[in-house]
Amino acid sequence: MTPNLEEIWVYLSTTPLLGLTLTLLAYQAAFWLYKRAGFHPIANPVLISVAILATLLLVTGTPYQTYFDGAQFVHFLLGPATVALAIPLHAQWPRLKAMAGPLLLALVAGSLTAALSAWGIGALLGASRESLMSLAPKSVTTPIAMGVAERLGGLPSLTAVLVISAGIIGAVAGRTVLNRLRIDDHAVRGFSIGLASHGIGTARAFQVSEQAGAFAALAMGLNGLLTALSLPWIMPWVERLFAG
């Protein structure tokens, strides 16, 4: 009976069950595809899951907030997962310590490039100020980027979307860039992907090797720290420099 079906829908759209289950189902489907594609970076599971879910929300006219009420349980696990990055970091500590100097210098160069090039390219092509300030922290992990964007006058929720896009881009195409440059050390590959593409790049790096993953996790943490401390005073200065 159709009235019954409607009742069921009304019930489902008010509980978190649907949003949570759909997130997991979309990810299962995306991961299956990723595996079938031989873990090719183009079949990125975040990209495919988001495409499936965004299409579903738009087709059914479901508000994002309704979906997020359920999906927040998955979102919440980002916290403990971030803490858990200490374990691979600890496992790779001897190698990390041996490379401390070069890692810090590469961190500063990469971190500045990530923020200033995003701002500069966006400004050249005429993006609005709100968008530019949401773009600047796009390479760092979502919670840090949202906080930094808010302080700069960007939109935190737009920042989350840009951060995840930068993550997917690095995870999908980072390999091509690194191959072109003939970089084959897993430590270097992991570190540069983690710096530019935070957790999504780190997730991809862990699928390649534990060493790449640990260096990516380190880069993600360090770039988050450096960006949180430096961008709030660098960006106003950069804006003033180019305003006149």
Partner: protein, 122 residues
Amino acid sequence: MIAALTLLLVFQLVGEVIARGLALPVPGPVIGMALLFLALMLRGGPGEDLRQTAGSLLQHLSLLFVPAGTGIVLYGDRIAAEWLPLLVALFLSTFLAIAVTALALAALTRRRRNTPTEEPGR
């Protein structure tokens, strides 16, 4: 698994309290990660339970970004209006950041690695 998950949450909680208490710009979980790292250095390494739980959590790290990524549905209008600068900036800037970091790190580590082999008589 429950014990390990509890441990991770306790470190996150402590990190969160420190971040808010000292008004640090760094998120609580990142401080929690640093504290757990210090604890592991002191203890000499994680137990089997913690290693396994962390492993399974990190293996599917990608899943955890899906809810926030789906937030793209909120920005249809802005993306329609500014898709070109946003897209070009995201792609080029991500590639540049990867290239600059990788080239800098490769150059700096190569020089260091080559130093001993350049010494005569070794």
